[in-house]
Amino acid sequence: MRGQTSRRTILGFIGPAVFGLAIVGIAPLIYAIWTSLHFFNLTKLKQVEFIGLENYWNVLTDGVFWQAMGRTFFLLATALPLQLVLGLGIALVLHKPGLTLLKTLARLSLVLPMATTYAVVGLLGQVMFNQKFGVVNHLLGGANINWIGDPQNAFAMIIFWDVWQWTPFVTLVLLAGLTMVPGEVEEAARLETKSWWTVLRHVQLPFLLPGLTAVLILRTADTLKLFDMVFTLTRGGPGAATEFISLMIQRVGFRGFDQGLASAQAVILLIITIILARIYIRVFYKEV
């Protein structure tokens, strides 16, 4: 009977969302795709012309684009594992019984980074990581580390803030997954072994997979979209050390005004994201 709901009913439920999203999502996207096939520079609108896939070709052969892409994936490859490991660790501790008050407190404070505006994180980063008057160097025993002006350090700083901001999210998703493990299943495993790792790997992990997939998809998409925090913190600098793909697209599209090229870059970015999401779902989102 689950298959027998009338077409009209289904449409009634799902239609408004599809329609709404189509208008606000698809129409601009189509426009962007149209732009990507043109020479479309905001300051030279008199010269708009159809140039086929030239923008795409230019993007795909542009070393700077791929460097930004590489940087972005490097960030993903460093920050995401950190977030997963830390998030998992904290989730496991929070999941254990006992220490109720402290754990409630910890759970509440996890909300703080999540709720902090991304742009504010960058501003805060400027204040805290300032070489001279920043509290971070001060806490490191008066170290004189040049965080913002040194390519490696700036990158490390971005990783720090990304981890700071998103580990709580990962933690909460994984914690939710852990609470889904039936208590007796977990206990059955604890009768067999003392090793938390064995319990995690063989018993809890399968329950975490849907949440992990969600985290992977969302974090990947968000890293590829990462803009606000870096923009306010380093603006992609020093040099191009923290110029991630979205900063680059923003620069091309809104500072260089070449919307055609920027659209092409963005469309390529979207395709990459979708492919990755599909892969994640295929690899990880198996049914428990």
Partner: protein
């Protein structure tokens, strides 16, 4: 059966987590109470005479108050709209069988992945043509592109976790699908709805790019205001941090109130 040692480790880790989460926030608040001279002291000072001058200036001279109200109106409206559109769609995805369901679900999710930079200019031009620039409604609508997917994702999973028995019982009693959703499933999916509302609110509240490009003054949002102080000429750190604090506090209150729901609603499909 926990050994004393493992307890100790847990306490340490939790303390570290709490400190790391809270400290930047603490620093933001204290910096917002400093004058520019104190804020720039090296090494940084921990004890100083706090001033509310930054807040006064931000709120009453630079119009941060108005942008906060704008952000509030926009974030609340878009969240409500996303729930209004998303909850029924989630119900359909969880409860009905129809062709292309999986693809439709994925398409919804895909919207969450589109970079705002792609949509910003087209939306700007469209909004301009419709006379919708610098209007709340514009942001309320475009924020749907990332709120609706989140609502649909989380709420679909919550609906899936509700025993189908309940639907059937209600159907036998003559309830329509809409009544079943509203009276039976929605109350039970509340944790998920709450979480999706929190995230929807947080994401909208924090959004910068659209806010920067699609508004100017009438509908200017708080994050757009905060970065507008970032003139390379002069960085009024105290004022920036005061604005930041003002931005973070509402969403924080909102999130803390609802934090009880957070874990229950974030199962992301782990219900099996």
């Amino acid at each position: 059966m926990q050994t004393r040692n493992s307890l100790l480790w847990q306490i340490l880790l939790l303390a570290l987590v709490i400190t790391l989460c809270v400290f930047p926030f603490y620093w933001m608040v204290t910096t917002s109470l400093k004058t520019q001279i104190v804020a720039l002291k090296a090494p940084p000072v921990w004890i100083f005479e706090p001033t509310l001058e930054n807040y006064r200036e931000a709120l009453f001279e630079d119009g941060v108050l108005r942008t906060l109200i704008n952000s509030l109106v926009i974030a609340v409206s878009t969240t409500l709209l996303a729930l209004l559109l998303g909850v029924p769609a989630a119900f359909a995805l969880a409860r009905f069988e129809f062709r292309g369901k999986k693809d439709l679900w994925f398409w919804f999710i895909t919207n969450r992945m589109v970079s705002p930079i792609v949509l910003a200019l087209p939306f700007f031009l469209i909004a301009r043509n419709l006379g919708l620039l610098d209007k709340h409604i514009t942001l309320i609508l475009i924020y749907l592109t990332f709120n609706l997917p989140i609502v649909i994702w989380i709420v679909t999973d919550q609906f899936r976790g509700i025993p189908y028995d309940l639907d059937e019982a209600a159907r036998l009693e003559g309830a329509s699908q809409f009544t079943i959703m509203r009276k039976i499933c929605l109350p039970l999916a509340m944790p998920g709805v709450a979480v999706s509302a929190i995230f929807s609110f947080i994401f909208s509240w924090n959004e910068l790019m659209f806010g920067l490009i699609l508004t100017r003054s009438e509908a200017k949002t708080a994050p757009a205001m905060a970065v507008s102080f970032m003139e390379g000429y002069n960085l009024p750190y105290g004022k920036i941090m005061a604005t930041s604090t003002l931005i973070v506090i509402p969403v924080l209150i909102f999130a803390l109130i609802a934090s009880k729901q957070l874990v229950r609603g974030l199962t992301m499909g782990a219900v099996k």
